[in-house]
């Protein structure tokens, strides 16, 4: 009954979206003079499990897509819709996920999608396309061993570099970023362990009591949108020590240690305790429990949050050129015992996130051409702008003396600032016009043949040279001459590069999945309770409750599966490295 109700609601929502989309369509037809060879404007439903925006793509990226392919992207984002897998389940039950599908593949999802006939065999469409010629190995590797032969998906982040090179470029997955102006003012106190960050954060909060718009600042602000197997914001602190999650296991980057997250002495529980301590000191934004990612992002843009673990959150949102000139900005500090985790390059592509065409897609040729374009140098520059690529040539950057440099506009707009875009480039705000697909076709650190430098603009020599604001020079002094976070970590021997592999978690028994779902809910709920516990006793009792409940539900059976997967992953890392070395010799 409920399923029926939901599908009826979904139908209604879809109709409304389609109707509204229709309204918008006509307006844009009149306004633009597209030079594409496609006559009919189509609206493409993109089911995108990576996107954090739902609705029609707007702004400059929309204009590029419209001019080139005469289509509009209607992004359907489970992350925004909420309710976990609900959207995926209801849409796949209806037999049509979307025209273009960007999805995670783990736990047998990819195989099941192929088996259920949700994906289109792209082999005939891709035959003459560059993407196939250039990345044949990676594409075939992704599609081997399926129930039906064919090419159903193309992996992301395909790279030509060694799995031992950080795919993150200049910033690792996580690092202890904090407000550098505040840190400087309190005299760069040394931090030996993570716990030492608490007094530092306290001083920071006293040093910078008000944000740029005059709101109260907090050292930490959390959000719950991305919680899955565990509380993401706590997991990040474990990643600061070289661990990454695989199910309920935290795997060390080199495959030497596997931790059960609910163990009292696991890094995850330690991280929860750290957050608990921080909350006791009044360092955590009380709105953490109710806010979402967008609200938090705006807080970062305004400077209401003083530390961050993700460079693309704190740093990208706050550090504008003007602020850096004033010596204000978020920069990474160094904790002596840390070893931040970073993913190595995926020489066979990252099979965990893929792009595919839906089996019910109306104009598959056009979509295949779109995908082909996404994997081209120009496509990379535009599609991956959200992840740090350059954007449209001529607007944000240009070639000067055979070197890629930012234009004046680029300095203002990049990476994602709220700057108006000239009308001929699509108008609107730069920030809102950035591609909402949130997909990286190729590795950001790979070389762009147009510029002969990495796609990631922050790695451009011209940009690194321009890191000469008072903020940068001050930080570089602290970092003993290092220009980037990764350089600093490498220098200190504190970077944990986990070799990139094409390994994807296999499918599991459905009672394991059910148990996993029940355990996840308990772990996430109790984690939040632990962080916001009133005192130590409440923290301990919530931990005890978490351990007892998941234990009683049958957690051990799930853990067994995860441990096996973690060990397989560790082995795959080794293989990937060996294989790359063999090929390059």
């Amino acid at each position: 009954m409920r399923k029926k109700q939901i599908s009826v609601i979904l139908c209604a929502v879809l109709t409304v979206t389609a109707v509204l989309g229709g309204c918008k369509k006509e307006v844009s037809v009149e306004n633009t003079t597209g030079n594409s060879s496609y006559d009919k404007l189509i609206t493409v439903d993109v089911f995108d499990t990576l996107a954090n925006y739902q609705g029609i793509q707007s702004g400059w990226f929309a204009k590029v897509v419209k001019d080139k392919f005469n289509m509009e992207l209607n992004i359907i984002a489970p992350n925004v819709a909420g309710g976990g897998d609900t959207l995926f389940q209801t849409r796949s039950a209806a037999g049509n996920l979307g025209d273009l599908i960007i999805t995670k593949t783990e736990s047998g999802r990819f195989e099941n999608m192929v088996k259920a006939g949700l994906l289109m065999d792209m082999a005939p469409l891709l035959k003459d396309k560059n993407v196939y010629k250039n990345y044949e190995d990676a594409i075939l590797n992704m599609n081997k061993g399926l129930v039906k032969e064919g090419i159903y998906a193309i992996p992301s982040e395909i790279s030509s570099q060694s799995p031992n090179v950080s795919a993150d470029g200049i910033e690792p997955l996580v690092a202890p970023y904090l407000r550098w102006d505040g840190y400087k003012a309190i005299g760069y106190p040394e931090m030996k362990t993570l716990e030492d960050m608490i007094p530092v954060m306290k001083q920071l909060q006293e040093q910078i009591p008000k944000s740029d718009s005059g709101k109260k600042t907090y050292a930490l602000s959390l959000f719950k949108d991305w919680d899955d197997s565990m509380m993401v914001m706590a997991k990040n602190y474990a990643s600061l020590y070289g661990y990454q999650e695989i199910g309920f296991v935290m795997e060390k980057y080199d495959g030497r240690d596997f931790q059960n997250i609910v163990d009292s002495d696991s890094y995850y529980v330690k991280a929860l305790h750290f957050l608990f301590n921080a909350n006791q000191e009044g360092l955590i934004d009380p709105e953490s429990t109710t806010q979402n990612y967008d609200i938090l992002s705006d807080k970062y843009r305004d400077g209401q949050v003083l530390t961050s673990l993700w460079s693309w959150q704190g740093q990208s949102y706050y550090n504008t050129r003007e602020r850096k000139e004033e010596g204000k900005g978020i920069m990474p500090a160094f904790i002596e015992d840390m070893a931040p985790y970073t993913d190595g390059c995926y020489s066979m592509g990252n099979g965990k996130a893929v792009i595919a065409i839906g089996s019910q897609a109306k104009e598959p040729e056009r979509l295949a051409a779109f995908i082909d374009w996404m994997y081209s140098p120009e496509g990379m520059e535009l599609v991956s702008q959200a992840n740090g690529a350059a954007g449209p040539m001529g607007l944000t950057w240009e070639m000067k003396d055979e070197k890629a440099v930012y234009t004046d506009y680029g300095w203002k707009a990049l990476p994602t600032n709220d700057v108006p875009v000239p009308e001929e480039w699509g108008g609107g705000s730069w920030k809102d016009g950035v591609s909402a697909l949130n997909y990286k076709p190729l590795a950001m650190v790979d070389t762009d043949p147009i510029t002969n430098e990495p796609y990631l603009t922050t790695m451009w020599s011209s940009v690194l040279q321009m890191n000469d604001t008072p903020l940068d020079t001050d930080w570089q002094k602290y970092a003993q001459g290092a220009k980037t976070t990764i350089e600093l970590l490498k220098k200190k021997g504190a970077l944990s590069v986990a070799p990139g592999t094409s390994y994807i978690q296999p499918k599991e028994e459905s009672d394991i999945t059910t148990l996993r779902g029940q355990c996840k809910a308990v772990i996430v709920d109790d984690s939040w309770k632990m962080v916001f516990a009133a005192d130590e006793a409440e923290f301990d009792s919530a931990l005890q409750h978490m351990q007892d409940t998941v234990g009683g539900l049958g957690y051990d059976r799930v853990l067994e599966v995860d441990l096996k997967n973690a060990k397989d992953l560790a082995a795959a890392r080794k293989t990937a490295l060996d294989e790359y070395n063999r090929r390059s010799n």
Binding site: F88, T289, S510, T514, Q518, G554
Partner: protein, 310 residues
Amino acid sequence: MKSLSAGKTPRSTVQSRRLFYCILPFIILCFLFSYFPLYGWIYAFFDYKPPLKLSQCEFVGWKWFKTLFANKTQIGQMIQVMKNTFAMSLLGIATSILPMGFAVFLNEIQCRWFKNLVQTLTTLPNFISWVLVYSVAFCLFTDSGMVNNFLLGHGMIQAPVKFLDSDTHTYLWMTMWNLWKGLGWGAIMYLAAIAGIDPELYDAARVDGANRFQLMKRITVPCLLPTFFVLLMLSIANFLNNGMDQYYVFQNSFNKTHIQVLDLYVYNVGMTGSSLSLATAISMLKSLVSVTLLLTVNFVSKKTRGEAII
């Protein structure tokens, strides 16, 4: 008409056939929306994995029903959920007397425009969706919301009170929201019933010297009781169906233990926990319990009051 005049078919058959056609659409609708979905129960016996079609999934028999009671913790969770469901339903039933009281008093208001105003204002919340009710609640009661700002501003509290993300008095809070939303709407039925009471009864009582409170106590309330009992019986049949939208919008990590009623549990396990089969199994059990409860109440009612609804 032609056939009638020809006299081939007896008049009564035509009449009953015509009447049958009149209710046919409703029978079809009833079948479509109340019986056809029961076909979905089949999912409870399969290992259904969403992207696959049912025919591609494995038949597992009673496995999911057994899973529900597989171990102590599972049973414990189930008991907690049932406790929440029963508590909220009982509170709902206990407060179901309030709309009647409200209607009786509302009826006593002589000033016509004021009476209409009160009735409209109390009925309106019924038409606001729970999502909007939650956003109102969010603006009022969040850490930087109006209530907290007011209390902080007047120095009545030192730190923001966590109204939404705490687990204190969850049942009461939920009942209060429910009451706020449903009071006026619930009173409509009773107001209609009051309008149907024979005015002669009041006149006779007035002649005998009864005052207003005596009129209410001796005439209005006794005349409303049959309506009240029918509604009560219906609400008992819906004992396990206390809906999920209200609890869904108000739930968070902090209050989940006490807010998770059966419908919400089915949703959380089935839709977000990716186990539609298990969720179907739970809702099947739910239907069985509901039918049993209804039959029991009906039987008791028949024995004690001589009235039954089915």
